[in-house]
Amino acid sequence: MASSAVFKLESLLEARKLDRTLAREPASPPPVQPTGIASLDAVLEGGWRQGEVSEVVGPRSSGRTSLLVATMASATAGGGIVGLVDTVDRFDPAGAARAGVDLDRVLWVRGPQIGVEQARATLVDRAVHQALRAVDLLVRAGGFTVVAFDVADIPPRYLRGLPHTTWMRLAHVNAGQPTVCLLVGEAAIGRSARGATVELDAAGRWTGTSPQSRRLTGFNIRARMREARHAVDVGPFEL
């Protein structure tokens, strides 16, 4: 009797596409998109889960963009295409190309060129809303391996001002698609139920001893991966 009631309830949830809240094991491991960083992929069980909204968060200079670019490089190397919504136009194509991104396979959606550090709140707010609509269009279009929403320079207060349903709706649109929706921000924004949040912190990797030979060659990154039920420390790894 109880099992038929459970079955009925599960069927109802499935019909309304709310079955992801059920605590049953999936039949097969979900498809993933590797990040391109072995230690992080190991913790993420292969990479970012497709059909989910995941996040890369951390303070300024913590390696968020480097991880995003590594994911883009991995996706384009696999023959996929990437949609990048660059909220305030901060993407550096030359650096991405050096990191192995196939630029021909990146759809770059550039937001307004505003100095977000000095811009009026209304301008930033408008840029965020525009970018969010662009993300929605990209995810709905389907066929993208990764859709990245880069709000790394947007102060969290602007994102907190968005309706809470925004992220649920985005997760709902992306559910079941072979697309990784990746949010890059300063603080956790709106990961989906089975998505992961990767918190980063980095130290600069400097080489050279003399002033002439000194170089900033990369980051030594420490990461903490959070999912719905557990959190794991990762690293350090180099980017």
């Binding site: 995003l68 993407f91 100095g115 900033l216």
Partner: protein
Amino acid sequence: MFCCLVLETPASPPGALADVARACSPRVELIGDRVAVFDARGLGRVLGPRDDIVLAVRRLAVERGVPIRVAIAPTATAAQILAHAGTKEIKDTGSLFLKCLFSETDSRCLDDTLDIFRRWGLRTCGDIARLPRADVAARLGAWGIALHQAACGEDTGPLVPMQEARRFLERIDLEWPIEGLEPLAFVLARLCDGHALALERADRGAVTVTTRLTLVTRTVHERVLHVPAPMRDARVLRTLIVLDLESHPPAAGIDAVEIELGVVPGRIAQGSLLTRTLPTPETLTTLIARLGALMGESRVGAPSLVDSHDARAVAMTRFAPGDAEPRNEPRHSGTCLRRLRFPLAAVVTTEHGAPIAVTPSARSLPGGAVIDRAGPWRSSGRWWTDDRRQWDRDDWDVELNHGARLRLSRDRATGQWAVAGIFD
């Protein structure tokens, strides 16, 4: 009765020869770019005997500025040979003109066979035609028969008239002027549905969409859309037109709507099991049009590298990813820069020219003491021009005490410092 036109100079405008032939007869076959054959039966009743027909065709061609050679004969093959020879009657070495009937890929076999005829002392078409065909076939095989048929002026197949190029044009004259895009979208939907059906039947896809709106001011608002891949989906076409008109709206009410399509043969797509499935061209085109309407047309595309020493230079190209095999290239690690397109002014304290403390002009980007630095990297360019794109600066990579890693740049002309990017 067939008439053949041969273009004398290849520099004539494309389609001119076909136009001349079409003006004479509806049954026209184009053979390559230089030859047209048309069915001249019945022209005698209008123009008179053969010579008059030839004169009339030649006059028409002269009027249209198309230099041609014309010949008329009972068969298309004979007309072609005569037109290439440029005479009424082929005499000595006329057999050489038989080559005009065959493609260039067959020229070697033809030359060999004609050489044999020459060695046999046969120089004219008549000489070859007088041979018994069975004997020619026994000695020279298929090529011998083909040349013998041609020498006899026999057609090996019927004339295949080409279809007249069809215009894909739909127009609606409205009873009342409409204003605004919403009511216009319904009209466009009707026109696009008709177009989609016509394209489907003709196995064609639209590559250009020309929208002409006749306005109440008696002016015509014309927009031309170039579609990256041939498409015939009515909804996609309508969406593209509406999005384009949203960006470029007409200045007044609309009296008449006309949509004309430029078409090419339909697209045949073959998927691969080994490559990832990409969005269809229709989906991508609609998506880019929607994104363009949202963000601005110039703000959507694929990033591309600029051949410049100016690290700030960026460019975009049309996003058109093709199928790609997965590759396993080694990834190059390195710092990624978040580039400030408008560098943020900063006050920088220096010691022996090197930055030791930074205070950006924005409070949201905290300053601090420099704990590590690299530089300066000097670059300059476009100093030979007067435009605003010239630059001359020293770049420094610095790490501040609170962990931020910045790229600073110092304009050498003004001495001003700015934050050009943030390493992240």
